[in-house]
């Protein structure tokens, strides 16, 4: 929070302070300035880390003793899966911000996360399917993890369709925010599906609480890929958000100009009628 604002309201309540914090970047001009400054810091690490991780993973890291070269699909599949669920997590947080604080930027972010999240979910499903054919001998099984990610994909699609289905954008934001929160029940199901149902998809190799059950010369390229892809997700999101803010500004400007033109057109008409 800026110093001058604290001076302005001498004893801000907690609600006012959190409100100020959340609404600080609701000002589209401020967000555009911040976004323009942030963009290169997201885009360039995304490009460098993704290329480095992909080259490391696809060409330099060893093949698996059991899976052979098919293991390299993991370097795309795991980051995509991570982004698919964290993207939806972001969508759910935006939905909460939109419902509780009516945060305009959260509305726009929810609009823009949808297509990006659906794309990474599709990549996750497609790469998993490509890996499944040589390893499991089938493109698709109705395993708990696969099914819950497929449901996540449909939740993204429903959100994309719903938020754009209203003539009045505000109604779409509210409706989609309710759906976004309701759909969040799928996230723990995805996370724990490999533990609750003992089916085909292998359990997590990397956890916060235990040492990873994979070789470090595969773990490092995977981590680099994951960080690179995450930066890429953020870069695309910020770019889309900036474009959305600019688009809404252009729309407002055009509407105002049209309104002024109509006012000018009608004025001589009116005066003529009076005269």
């Amino acid at each position: 929070m800026g110093r001058n604002e604290t001076v302005l309201n001498a004893t801000p309540s907690l609600a006012a302070r959190t409100g100020n914090f959340f609404h600080r970047y609701a000002n589209p001009g401020r967000f555009l300035r911040l976004g323009a400054r942030l963009q290169p810091w997201l885009t360039w690490p995304a490009i460098v880390l993704s290329i480095a991780g992909i080259v490391w993973g696809l060409f330099l890291s060893p093949a698996d003793w059991q899976q052979g070269d098919s293991v390299r699909i993991m370097y795309v599949h795991v980051p995509a899966a991570w982004l698919a669920s964290s993207g939806y997590m972001g969508l759910a947080v935006c939905s909460l911000l939109s419902l509780v604080w009516r945060h305009p930027l959260a509305d726009l972010a929810a609009v823009e996360i949808g297509p990006v999240g659906a794309s990474v979910t599709a990549i996750c499903l497609a790469t998993g399917s490509l890996w499944g054919k040589p390893m499991w001998g089938t493109w698709w099984v109705w395993d708990a993890r696969l099914t819950s990610v497929l449901v996540l994909f449909f939740l993204y699609l429903g959100h994309i369709a719903l938020i754009r289905a209203f003539d009045e954008p505000q109604r779409g934001y509210r409706a989609a925010a309710i759906l976004g929160l309701a759909g969040a029940v799928d996230l723990p199901i995805i996370k724990f599906s490999v533990q609750w149902w003992n089916t085909l998809h292998q359990p997590d190799s990397i956890t916060l609480t235990a040492a990873p059950t994979m070789s470090t010369n595969m773990l490092w390229p995977l981590l680099v890929c994951t960080v690179g892809f995450t930066f890429g997700f953020a870069a695309i999101l910020v770019a889309r958000l900036r474009a959305a803010v600019m688009e809404s500004r252009v729309r407002t400007a055009l509407a105002m100009r049209r309104g002024r033109a109509e006012a000018q057109d009608s004025e001589p008409d009116l005066s003529g009628a009076v005269a």
Binding site: F154, L157, G158, A165, F166, R171, A175, I178
Partner: protein, 226 residues
């Protein structure tokens, strides 16, 4: 205005039941769809009794899921058009309870007839008689879940350009757990395993949806009449 909340709830449910009885053809539409869709499977798959017996639980469940979707479009839609939704919101009932009343009415006018129709359909598909009570028990819980999730989705899409097209896209992914547990209970019963855990999970899902869905639907209704 001064009526108590239970009386208001009963009034809203009673109004919907009266409407359903007076537009009997609309109400029976979902049930007829259910039976017809179920009758298409033997025509498409061939009349082999073993195959049909194996598939009967899934067919009944999927057809019930789709049939319960049909009346959702009009659950709040006609009220929004003729303005009675505004009246309902002013009646003194919290929006979440208005939504709950409509969901109960949806279950009474769609879920219950589907339950009644499910028994003959399951027998026609060759489901063994001892398994039938498990099918009906599961469907009773499952259709209640569907009414709750469906009512929530119906309130969310109020005023959307193509609400009817959106509804299946929103309801079906959220309803998949009910389908999975319901069909799994029948599968377990047919193979001689214990069916109770799946029905208990289904009941737990219903218990979670019972408070959450009306709250979400209430938010949707408030947004719709604003």
């Amino acid at each position: 205005m001064n009526a108590s909340i239970p009386a208001l709830l009963a009034a809203v449910i009673g109004r919907d039941l009266r409407l359903a009885v007076r537009h009997g053809a609309d109400t029976l539409g979902a049930v007829l769809f259910f039976i017809l869709a179920g009758a298409l499977f033997p025509l498409a798959l061939g009349p082999s009794p073993e195959l049909l017996r194996r598939m009967a639980p899934g067919i009944v469940w999927v057809c019930a899921l789709l049939a319960a979707l049909l009346p959702l479009d009009r659950l709040f839609g006609s009220e929004l058009e003729d303005g009675s939704l505004d009246q309902l919101m002013l009646s003194g009932l919290p929006p979440a309870l208005v939504a709950l009343a409509k969901m109960v009415a949806h279950w009474l006018t769609t879920g219950l007839p589907l339950l009644v129709a499910a028994a003959p359909l399951a027998i026609m598909l060759g489901l063994p008689l001892p398994v039938l009570p498990i099918l009906l028990g599961g469907l009773a819980l499952g259709t209640a879940v569907l009414s709750l999730i469906g009512g929530m989705a119906a309130s969310i899409v109020l005023g959307a350009r193509r609400g009817g097209v959106l509804l299946p896209l929103l309801v079906l992914p959220l309803a998949t757990p009910a389908l999975i547990f319901g069909a799994a209970a029948l599968d377990a019963a047919q193979t001689g395993l214990s069916w109770a855990p799946d029905l208990e999970l289904l009941g737990a899902f219903l218990a979670a949806a019972l408070p959450l869905c009306p709250l979400a639907a209430g938010a949707g209704l408030r947004a719709a009449v604003e």
